[in-house]
Symmetry: C2
Subunit: 409 residues, 2 copies
């Protein structure tokens, strides 16, 4: 079944890849309208998912993420509409003429078929589909089993909308069998899937990165640090660590570690504890000498992305020690320095090896919307192809088109 889905998506991708921006935007408009127009079908399917989830006794938080309402469907539809207004990522191309008269065009093109493996959030179904259609890619969606009825309903409605706009319905494919086997088969569909993007928690990402033989963009692992330099402004420092740790601890751009220069540790650490009053601090020896009653941090702690109200605290004796600690323990996601020393800021930005390096701002800004990309498909923590928030242009590749009049070499 997966084979059929992949080959239909590949065929559809060839048609979609040759479509105009107007056609793709037309499909997005149909998609946005259909989501609202056929909301009853979605709500009915979602009710089934909720019933099954309750029977299984899933957590309230997970139940909330799974639940769709009329308002939420309207919001999903509006998100699709917003994608229409974004610039066409296939527009930009470059060309030059060689001395032998060959005209070389470097042309932005879609990947072809993008597969998305994600968890129990039915809104991802429409978000991912919209970004794929906009960038000219057919999509194969493989969401979590908890949301399968909602996902099938949404994908079916979106496929109909794409067809109504004159493009192949198979541009939007959905894996209806949510067993582990189909996920594995998708990860190994070499030559059939041009790009696989996992969206979800650590174990999902790890499983995809370890098992996939198709090209993957690794997203989302965030063991992020905030470093208070010796010259850190105290208010900025406290505001940033509070925001980075507590505004949304469950997300990848939240901070997991605080590094403090020894020159300011004694004065600022008690204030950190007072401010982050609902956060469990785990400290190094030097931290424990100042905050006597907190838990000692283990080596494993420094490597852990808690996604929770826990923060490791380490006192360092130099900027260099902070940088080395970050480069050893970080995941290359988002790292911040709080400093009033412009030279130290430059050294930190040059030497920290991460997708986003901040000076006097919160790590929480690593996000496509916040960067001004309008939408994002994920945050890459790898160096190849894309790094940091990935917008529409990161969902494209390029080809060279060379026109001659008989040139040989």
């Amino acid at each position: 079944m997966l084979d059929k889905l992949c080959s239909e998506a590949k065929k559809a991708s060839l048609v979609l890849g040759c479509s105009t921006a107007e056609q793709r935007n037309g499909a997005l408009a149909e998609m946005a309208t259909a989501l609202v127009g056929r909301k009853d079908e979605i709500l009915k399917a979602n009710a089934l998912d909720i019933e099954n989830a309750k029977a299984k006794g899933i957590s309230t938080a997970m139940l909330d993420r799974l639940t769709l309402t009329e308002e939420r469907i309207a919001a999903i539809s509006n998100a699709v509409k917003k994608v229409i207004a974004l610039p066409d990522p296939l527009e930009c191309s470059d060309h030059w003429v060689r001395p032998n008269g060959l005209n070389i065009e470097k042309r932005r093109v879609p990947f072809g078929v993008i597969a998305i493996i994600y968890e129990a959030r039915p809104n991802v179904t429409a978000d991912a589909a919209a970004l794929c259609i906009k960038s000219g890619n057919a999509v194969i969606l493989r969401g979590g089993s908890e949301a399968i009825n909602s996902n099938i309903a949404v994908a079916n409605i979106l496929g109909d909308a794409v067809k109504a706009a004159g493009l192949p319905k198979e541009c939007i494919g959905i894996v209806t069998d949510t067993s582990r086997e189909t996920a594995n088969a998708l990860m190994r569909a070499k030559g059939k899937i041009d790009l696989l993007i996992p969206r979800g928690g650590k174990s999902l990402i790890r499983s995809v990165v370890d098992n996939a033989t198709v090209p993957v963009i690794e997203t989302g692992a965030g063991n992020c640090h905030v470093y208070f330099d010796a010259t850190a402004d105290e208010k900025t420092a406290l505001d940033v660590i509070d925001n980075a740790k507590r505004s949304r601890p469950s997300v990848c751009n939240a901070a997991e570690s605080l590094l403090v220069h020894e020159a300011v540790a004694e004065s600022i650490l008690p204030k950190v504890r007072a401010r982050l009053d609902n956060v469990e601090l785990r400290g190094c020896e030097k931290t424990l000498a100042i905050l006597k009653d907190i838990t000692p941090a283990t080596n494993e702690d420094y490597f852990t992305e808690y996604n929770d109200y826990i923060l490791t605290v380490k006192v360092v004796s130099s900027l260099e020690e902070a940088i080395d600690h970050i480069n050893l323990h970080g995941t290359g996601h988002s790292e911040a320095i709080i400093t009033q020393d412009p030279e130290n800021a430059v050294v930190f930005c040059n030497s920290v090896d991460a997708s986003a390096v901040y000076v006097n701002a919160s790590t929480r800004f690593t996000d496509g919307e916040e960067f001004g990309f309008g939408a994002e498909i994920g945050i890459s923590t790898q160096k190849m192809h894309a790094r940091g928030p990935m917008g529409l242009s990161e969902m494209t590749t390029y080809k060279y088109v060379i026109r001659g009049n008989g040139q040989v070499r």
Copy 2:
């Protein structure tokens, strides 16, 4: 030993990554001078390799590729000098200010440590090292065992030159143990190697792509086609297929298959046979009806990159059949159409899924020098990160540097 080499390279890469273009060009100048100045050391090491190779009884062609002379060392030195003049790939960056005052810079940065696995061509040692230094990357070189003495001599001289220019000698690392185990260890040095580029024959590339857990760019597999459309100009068609097949059959951008529209098959195929008189043709049934005495092509033939004086020939009844055949059998490298119909040229360029698509020119032009990149590290056949000839800019990635004054989200 490999662990030490990797950690030294990583440390060196942090220094190199913060160097100026002037420093890197200074190192390249020292490298070019040292290669010529210490040519006797290189020739002595090379003599040892040649002696060993002769004792093993390797082919004359391989012996020729292995052999260095004073002239060849001068040519290698000149190639390094040419890299100095190329634009700095780390220069280009972009920045914008968000409504909240965050200043976002998208900055070109090196990958860090690039590993190159290659075969018995000692010139690759200097070429690859020069491109890595220019792009700010430390390099770990792992060449074939046949050239090991030459490679060690060259790498050592280049490392000394980098040091003389004030950068760490460890920017240029060489794997001295050429066992299969060290190659495998290099492919699996996750977190230590930022990018691995294999350069060599099919079996080397396949082994790297199948075994590596570090990020790899797949290069060089080229099952390239030339398609004669119904309106093909006969002279152009014959010139291009001759050049694409015979100018250098051993390389990846040589043609392996000829597709001919049935409207012109009868008139042009006998001329193809006459022109390519030292090429073995293997044809489809329709081809055999015209060229009665040639070998029939098997399904396997259509998937084979011969790198030899062999060409499959297939008669197709439409442009669409040609495109489908290419998309099924090609490796996404270089594909050409010979046509006088501008509309068919557009359809072919849009629909063929390859890194380089040619209209009325030879596939042999897929090459960094021919595209005007000045130098290339390889030809990518993948879609992620880089496609087609990879110059200096494809050896870089980027990071976001965000400057604020206390912004929180």
